[in-house]
Amino acid sequence: MVKITALMVLKCTPEGADPVILANASDLSSFGFFQRPSVKEFIVFVGRTVARRTPPGQRQSVQHEEYKVHSYNQNGLCALGFMDDHYPVRSAFSLLNKVLDEYQKNFGDSWKTVEADNSQQWPYLSEALTKFQDPAEADKLLKIQRELDETKIILHKTIDSVLARGEKLDSLVEKSSDLSAASQMFYKQAKKTNQCCTIL
């Protein structure tokens, strides 16, 4: 279905030089074992290029073969996501926002001084990669919309069952009114038999 292949955080210098990778997490399970290193290289290279071309304060989506690369540059700190075509663009960008906020919280401003590629893993990024394979997780709007739709379905079912209940109540009221009429007849009959046979 929809899939995130990789997430990266880079530091984008204003001009010229290559961006520096600050964190990288990728899910290469869909590729064969021997293709993985080359795919990783490809991801790194494309990530650097796209990050270099994204001006600060801008979001960008680039279509590359069958992937869409979404990048968001926030004052020099750039987050990239490699997703397939079905991943909704909005959730992608909200995911990138979240990653950037988390990075800022964790590392403060220390990223500004980093000059070489950081090869350590940032566990948050890898969990984010697995957690946000489902676009609804990343984008609250999508989640809310989905839940609202489910609620609507449930409500429709409720209304159907309430209507069925209404029908049953109608039949019950018919039967009870018949019953009360019958009991009234019964009472009158009983009184009649009691009254007229005293002579005999």
Binding site: P55, P56, G57, Q58, R59, Q60, S61, V89, R90, F93, N97, L141, L142, I144, Q145, L148, D149, T151, K152, L155, H156, T158, I159, V162, L163, R165, G166, L169, D170, L172, V173, S176, S177, L179, S180, A182, S183, Q184, F186, Y187, Q189, A190, K191, T193, N194, T198, L200
Partner: protein, 340 residues
Amino acid sequence: MSVKSGNASIRDRTQEFLGIAERVKKSVSPQNGPTSSGSKREEPPRPAMAMQSEFNRRASKIGFGIHQTSQKLAKLAKLAKRTSVFDDPTMEIQELTAVIKQDITALNSAVVDLQYLSNSRNESGNISSDTTTHSTTVVDDLKNRLMSATKEFKEVLTMRTENLKVHENRRQLFSSSASQNPSNPFVRQRPLAAKSAASNSAAPPLPWANGAQSSSQLFPKNQMDGESQPLLQQQQNQQQQQMVPLQDSYMQSRAEALQNVESTIHELSNIFNQLATLVSQQGEIAIRIDENMDDTLANVEGAQGALLKYLNSISSNWWLMIKIFFVLMFFLMIFLFFVA
């Protein structure tokens, strides 16, 4: 030199005039050699005639152009009136508008040139006052016609804008979520129009769309404040031309999602209201059932009491037994009486 079909009010009668002038000359001064005077006389008139015919040619061309433009304008007016909500020939209308605008500007400059030419000729050559008045009249006529064509053009554009507004309103009446879409073309055009300052053919619809656009752009949320500043900066930079539509589409998609959520919540509240109505009605039905059952219970209890009394009266009524005994005796008597 002869005028083409469309505009026949400027006719070139120079030849007739020359013929009459020659005849008059021949009749007035027969002693002069007809050839030399004719040739000499023809020399001065010829440049003047040439210029006059040049003037006439240009005037006739301009008149024809105005006529064609007014025909195109009529077609545009028909198209603009015809637009329905779904079958909107926007592209054709915009193309036609651009073409007509170009024509009008070209004709305007041509008329100005013509006027300049006639003025220069009036100062240079020795031409009769008739020619001068004729040329000034012609120029004025052309200018008036061009002005009326321009006015019609403006009216057609205003009518088109009003039609678009009406369609927009009707579309909003029928679908609340599709209201973003009609303003999208104007969103794309707004940053592009700000960059390419002049010669945007869709200029009249734009000022109208600008007001509607700012409200729908201010609608979404937190990051937008940070991005609206770079957005303004980007407008100057030609390289970022792709970025601005992307930012707009991002914000618009968020706005659209929010509106969807809001409408879903409205629908949910509707459903809840209906549910409440149904349940209260059914509650009333349940109360009626309860009353019926109570009535039935009362009736049955009364009937049971009556039957019980009856049973008592039957089971313990010795007076009844005596009556039965007497009836039996009576029948026995009668039976014995008849048989024996």
